[in-house]
């Protein structure tokens, strides 16, 4: 699934069957090459759902147990949720120091959260080539 497809999807509580939020973005951990949390529009309790609290990531909705699963980002997730670590739109550098373009979209596995692809202007780099996501660039071990 692509980040762009998943954005805007409703987040539904399996306890109350109510829509409690909408997917606004994703928090990516480059070290594990996976989505560690889903960002939602800020509520009084916070603005992220940790990936381990996502029950189902379906085509129509993301399900969580209850609205208590929407929390404020803390620790590592808070660091990665910082705007400096956003992936979309960022400049992409190869480990050889060549600019490859910018991140247009990200492909991920909706059951595991694993990043499977980094979509650039004209091609897609395999997700397992992701090395780092910093304030200046996304670094991938890949040459086109």
């Amino acid at each position: 699934m692509l980040f762009s497809d998943a954005k805007g999807r409703k987040v539904v509580s399996t306890t109350t069957a109510e829509t409690i939020a909408k997917v606004a973005g994703f928090v990516v951990d480059p070290a594990s090459r996976s989505v560690v949390a889903v960002e939602v529009k800020k509520t009084k309790d916070g603005d992220v759902v940790l990936w381990e609290d996502v029950k189902g990531f379906g085509d129509d909705a993301v399900t969580v147990e209850s609205d208590e699963k929407i929390t404020a980002a803390v620790g590592d997730v808070a660091v990665l949720a910082d705007k400096h670590h956003q992936v979309l739109g960022k400049k992409v550098l190869s480990t050889a120091g060549a600019e490859l373009g910018s991140v247009k979209d990200v492909e991920f596995d909706e059951t595991s959260g694993t990043i499977t692809g980094i979509v650039l202007e004209s091609e897609t780099a395999p997700g397992n080539r992701l090395i780092g996501v910093g304030s200046y660039a996304v670094v991938i071990d890949w040459s086109n």
Binding site: L93, S94, G97, E99, G134, A137, V139
Partner: protein, 198 residues
């Protein structure tokens, strides 16, 4: 695989960690004493208001010198000049290839070929690979009889240099090229030619 580039183009290139942070940018190239090789780089901070940085980047700590960025593993490979260039005496002092911009290139037969405007370096491999000085870009004098005003001239492995002049063998004139494409081969041919003639 080896890549040729102008030293002048490396200046201002960002220094980026594998974590994607731009931690500095290249200020100047530091040549090893005796010329011939790049020992490392002095650095400036990022952004228009940041000045020079105390730390330097030794060539051995460069993971890749790419066309758009100089990649390093982590920010902590940037160290003090004493640490980076220990045993590299006289670095950056203007000796050898240290500060050749503006110097006149003179053949050993006494012809002035022109003024040095850039240094051509060859990067072969990285992380333990070499970064050699292989030629100069010069503003050609009339003696060279070339159509272009800027030409590339290959260098021998070692050459005599003063603040005023750089001495090259007269035979270098036959290996002058207009651009970087094909210049690597010209350098190899020139050096092979020198070995053969001694």
């Amino acid at each position: 695989m080896s890549v040729l580039m102008r030293a002048g183009e490396v200046a201002k290139r960002p220094v980026v960690t594998m974590q994607g942070e731009d931690v500095a940018q290249i200020k100047d190239i530091v040549y090893a004493p005796g010329g011939g090789e790049v020992a490392g780089f002095t650095l400036a901070g990022r952004g228009i208001f940041s000045g020079p940085r105390k730390e330097v980047l030794a060539w051995k700590s460069v993971a890749a010198l790419g066309p758009d960025a100089v990649m390093i593993l982590r920010e902590d490979v940037l160290v003090s000049p004493d640490e980076a260039f220990a045993g590299v005496s006289g670095s950056g002092s203007g000796s050898g290839h240290g500060n050749v911009l503006g110097s006149r290139v003179l053949t050993d037969s006494g012809t002035d070929l022109g003024k040095v405007i850039d240094v051509i370096i060859e990067v072969s491999g990285a992380n333990g690979g070499q970064c050699d000085v292989v030629g100069y870009e010069i503003e050609a004098s009339e003696a060279l009889k070339t159509n272009s005003t800027k030409v590339l001239i290959p260098l021998p492995d070692t050459l005599a240099a003063s603040a005023e002049h750089l001495m090259v063998p007269a035979g270098a004139v036959d290996f002058v090229r207009d651009d970087l494409a094909g210049f690597g081969a010209a350098v190899d041919d020139f050096r092979a030619h020198l070995k053969g003639s001694h």
